[in-house]
């Protein structure tokens, strides 16, 4: 008990004496914790839900039969007539948009006559225990109707309501025949009869999935073996949920990178805790001496300071919890949009602040605080009683081993260089990140030498240019080298991360802009109004493209068809295009550097494909290799003619000639159509013609410019969250600067008072503090820019390459970068305003005689 009393008196009470500075430190930790927590919660919510309603509604079936482009319907018969008692449930799966609400919902076609009752019992009763047997049977009466649909109760319709649905490029009116209970809106779907769904989607003779419920013996593996023998070559039987796992694997890198990015604020926060505890150690040197001479052991002193840090960390974590929950709401929207446009359709799930996340927040708050305060706390425990009680407060940076630290920085830098050359570990750029961390550490170690060198050469010059206040500011910063280095280190780390990510995103953007100018050669693009995502490819009714091609002024049309497939346990996109129409591109888009005509000619009517760059990284393939694809009932081998750059999606893509694809998958409906307008025809008139010709279909017509703008909008939205993370890190750093300047003012009050005696006006005192803030900002910007540049190289050429497999061309996003740096610089100077005000308000007579 007396220990706690002492701890309270000596460690906790002083924290209340400088409430603002304590608050700033706590807030810095709170923000750091909040961001990590927010990203954790949001990425669970945003990506967790791609376990789509299809899976939720699949019931208790264990196996599924799938293939690219759909399973031929006769397979259902084959399976149903086997001598085993297997329940066979064929499915059509797609999406429909309710035209009234623009809400996109999963559309599911199932054999209601065969399985309606069983379905109602298994899948639906689970979600509504109160539902009686007879009621659930009623839900699926009038099963055979072609215009009948069943909807989840959360969608908000009642039986016999009329609902307009947009499916692919057509709108049809359906009648709600029944409403089934669903526990929340994310699991809701529109259910219709299999035949009706095939009709609505134009998907005759095929089903998307066949779910199987097999007897308990033998094992699932044996059943898979057994069934494989009766299935056509291209058709695969696998465990249900495989797609979910594949998606999860695909998203791992994305989530991982985001999570790491969210730690930046925490790293910056760690610097600031270090500084806070260091200041506290210096201030309390005499107390430490007294306590030691009164019998306190080194261990007691050490734990007292660690305890102080832990208190700050705990307080920060407690504030960070609700803050993180709040931030997660915003983050989840951004992330869900990104996931949807780059990976897989998903609807954000529910953000759950559970016990694990609370523990995580507390652990990182307290953990980071204690870890970053260890070094100053240890230093405090090493203080000898006599020395500490000696008069005069020594600056705490007497012990800076500049030369030694510089050597260490060099060693770490070399280690970073080595790590950046190493390959990915288990598909993750672990060593790339290690290189980045080593570089940050190296720069922190080199910081004292950097600050010392720069302030010593610049102080006289500064004095000449900006007046004596600038000279004094520079001298002060140099005199408290360790403190200054830690501050510059914190801010420059934040700036470096901002710069690195800024350069990476800017380079990426520029690369995409250049790439698009080659990729989108057509004048107009047509696509169905139905909701498209990276894994959803609604189609345009066949015949529309041919109609358009006949219009005057249309030189050519190119039909593109995409399928969502699974290749070697990873989701991928399989696409085909009218290669004979493809215009030659300005630059080669191929790894080989060969002209496009030459590469595309190889694909025509042959089993050759080109694959996208991310595909090659995911599957370790290169030009000349061959790959085997399951297409409908058949399996076929294709040669990779070349690899093309593709920045539209992180999913790997395979492209073949349209004629080749039709041989395997005969559905002629295209996913979208590129239209080339004759050079002599006025674009607007042709456009109007096309709109007239497609009037019966819900299609969207984009000009080349629209499409590019749309792509860039998606791109920018994708990276919005990274910008938000950067901004928080910068805010944390600037708050740290404000707190540290406040401490600096308090510790130097005697000197500030003296200046007034020597004839300094109040504005000169204010200018002095603002100059210090400004110098800190300048040093941090310089160091941050340099470190950021190196980090950006690691991000572009190592981390991005290893996690996503994109070739990005380096580009300085000059305006954005310098704009951001200017804002940071301005914020740093503003952070000096309040400390400057405190300095001005000091009473010189009182402070000049204080020790």
């Amino acid at each position: 008990m007396p220990r706690f009393l002492l701890f309270y008196r000596l460690m906790v009470r002083p924290l209340f004496r400088e409430p603002l500075r304590t608050l700033l430190t706590i807030l810095a930790i709170a923000l750091g914790v909040a961001v990590v927590l927010a990203i954790d919660l949001a990425s669970d919510a945003a990506t967790g839900s791609f376990r789509s309603s299809m899976e939720t509604l699949a019931g208790e079936n264990e196996l599924e039969v799938v293939t690219s482009g759909g399973v031929p319907e006769y397979v259902v018969g084959t399976l149903a007539t086997l001598a085993y008692s297997i329940r066979v449930s064929p499915r059509i799966e797609d999406y429909a948009v309710i035209t009234d609400t623009k809400k996109s919902l999963p559309l599911m076609g199932l054999d209601l006559i065969a399985e309606g009752g069983a379905y109602a019992q298994s899948a639906l009763q689970k979600t509504a225990e109160s539902q009686t047997q007879s009621a659930s049977e009623q839900v699926f009466n009038r099963l055979g109707d072609a215009d009948g649909i069943w909807v989840g109760s959360s969608v908000g319709y009642r039986t016999s309501d009329r609902v307009e649905l947009l499916i692919n490029d057509r709108v049809r009116t359906y009648t709600v025949r029944g409403v089934y209970p669903d526990s929340n809106g994310n699991e809701s779907a529109i259910v219709m009869d299999l035949a009706a769904a095939q009709h609505a989607l134009g998907r005759y003779g095929r089903v998307d999935r066949i779910l199987l419920k097999v007897p308990e013996t033998p094992s699932l593996g044996d059943w898979q073996q057994r069934l494989r023998t009766v299935l056509p070559a291209g058709v695969e039987v696998r465990l249900r949920g495989t797609a979910t796992n594949e998606n999860r694997r695909m998203l791992a890198a994305f989530r991982w990178n985001l999570r790491l990015l969210s730690c930046i604020s925490l790293i910056v926060g760690a610097f600031l805790i270090y500084n806070t505890i260091s200041v506290s150690v210096v201030r309390r040197r005499p107390e430490i001496g007294i306590a030691r001479s009164l019998g306190a052991s080194r261990g007691v002193i050490l734990s007292a300071f660690l305890g102080e840090a832990a208190c700050l960390g705990l307080a920060g974590a407690l504030i960070g919890l609700p803050l993180g929950r709040l931030m997660a709401t915003g983050a989840v929207r951004l992330m869900a949009a990104t996931v949807e446009s780059l990976y897989v359709s998903s609807r954000p799930g529910i953000i759950e602040l559970n016990g694990a996340s609370v523990l995580l927040a507390l652990a990182i708050g307290v953990g980071v605080a204690v870890a970053s305060s260890y070094s100053p706390a240890r230093e405090a425990s090493q203080v000898s009683p006599v020395e500490a009680m000696a008069r005069g407060r020594r600056e705490y940076d007497v012990r800076v081993h500049q030369a030694r630290d510089l050597w260490l920085a060099l060693v770490l830098g070399l280690a970073a260089a080595a790590a950046s050359r190493a390959p990915a570990v288990a598909g993750k750029p672990l060593l790339g990140y290690l290189a980045a961390i080593l570089l940050v550490a190296a720069s922190a170690l080199a910081m004292p030498a950097f600050v010392d060198a720069l302030t010593s050469v610049s102080s006289n010059l500064l004095g000449k240019v900006f007046g004596v206040e600038a000279m004094l500011a520079s001298r002060t910063l140099r005199a408290s080298l360790r403190r200054t280095s830690v501050l510059v280190g914190a801010l420059s780390t934040a700036i470096a991360m901002m710069t690195a990510v800024g350069i990476m995103v800017g380079s990426f953007r520029q690369t995409v802009v250049l790439w698009m100018s080659d990729q989108l050669p057509a004048d107009l693009y047509l696509r169905p109004a139905g909701f498209a995502a990276a894994d959803r490819h609604p189609t345009i009714s066949s015949g529309v493209a041919e109609e358009v091609a006949k219009l005057p002024g249309v030189a050519a049309v190119e039909r593109l068809r995409a399928y969502e497939i699974s290749y070697e346990d990873m989701p991928a996109t399989l696409a085909s295009a009218d290669l004979n129409v493809r215009r030659s591109h300005r630059n080669s888009d191929f790894f080989s550097g060969r002209p496009s005509e030459q590469v595309l000619a190889e694909l025509r009517d042959s089993n050759a494909v080109i694959v996208s760059e991310p595909f090659t990284y995911k599957h370790h393939l290169k030009a000349g290799d061959s790959l085997t694809l399951s297409l409908g009932a058949t399996q076929a081998s294709f040669r990779i003619a070349d690899v093309y750059y593709d920045y539209s999606s992180e999913r790997g893509s395979i492209l073949m000639d349209r004629q080749t694809m039709l041989r395997f998958l005969p559905d002629p409906a295209p996913s979208n159509v590129a239209i080339y307008v004759s050079p002599d025809a006025p674009l607007e008139i042709v456009r109007a013609e096309i709109e007239k010709a497609t009037a019966g279909h819900r299609v969207l017509l984009f000009s080349n410019r629209d499409l590019r703008a749309e792509a860039m909008r998606i791109f920018d939205r994708t990276f919005a969250i990274t910008y938000a993370l950067e901004a928080v890190a910068i805010i944390v750093a600037v708050m740290g600067i404000a707190g540290a300047l406040l401490a600096l003012v308090i510790d130097r009050r005697r000197e500030l008072g003296l200046l007034r005696f020597l004839g300094a006006a109040t504005w000169q005192v204010r200018k002095l503090i603002l100059m210090e803030a400004s110098l800190l900002g300048l040093l941090a910007n310089l160091a941050g820019l340099a470190l950021g540049f190196v980090l950006s190289l690691i991000l572009i050429y190592v981390v991005n390459k290893q996690s996503f497999g994109w070739t990005i061309r380096f580009h300085w996003p000059v305006e954005i970068l310098f704009g951001a740096l200017a804002v940071v610089y301005g914020a740093t100077v503003l952070a000096g305003l309040y400390p400057a005000q405190v300095a001005v308000r000091l009473n010189p007579i009182e402070v000049v005689h204080e020790d």
Partner: protein, 225 residues
Amino acid sequence: MPILSFEDVSKDYLTDGQPVHALKGLSLNVKRGEFVALVGRSGCGKSTLLNLAGAMDFPTTGKVLLDGVSTSSLKDNGLTQLRRERVGFIFQSFQLLHTLTVFENVELPLLLAGKHNPREAARERLAWVELEGLGDRHPHQLSGGQMQRVAVARALIHSPSLLLADEPTGNLDTTTGNVILELLRRLTREQNTATIVATHSLEAASLANTLVRLRDGKIEEITRR
């Protein structure tokens, strides 16, 4: 005309709501070239008097006139200006800036006043206090006596008409202290400044032209020689 006059000056401080009367109706005139020793027990108001004289603070009642200008009539800017032109301070604990060299310490008041090229003046002042050649050192490379001499040079850099020293020998041994006092007296004469030294030292008292004895915020006796 006196460079400094106190006309019936009182100074009250408020501590915890209780007024402390530090100076009570005090009047005093000091001329150029006059070396004043201010003596009295601890807490009698010596430092308070010096702060009022140096335009660092205002009297509660009465007037402090610096070169005929009442400090109470000026705002913060005016006071700063007055200090820059007329007043030099010397402190018991030297109060040198450790981040600056000796030269830079001495030049500081001129730089703060926005004057350019102060190096010549600084060199000259260092010669006055017999520290030629030490200008590039840092304060921690000097002895206590030397530090105080740097402080004297700094106080004289802008040729003030009033030099105020609060126990300038308090942190020095007797011999060194006497050297400093001797120096102050010499410079008072040579530079024709008015110098007020608050001190406990008998030596100082014996060197002074004028001895002012304070007691409880009032002048107990003034001895002129």
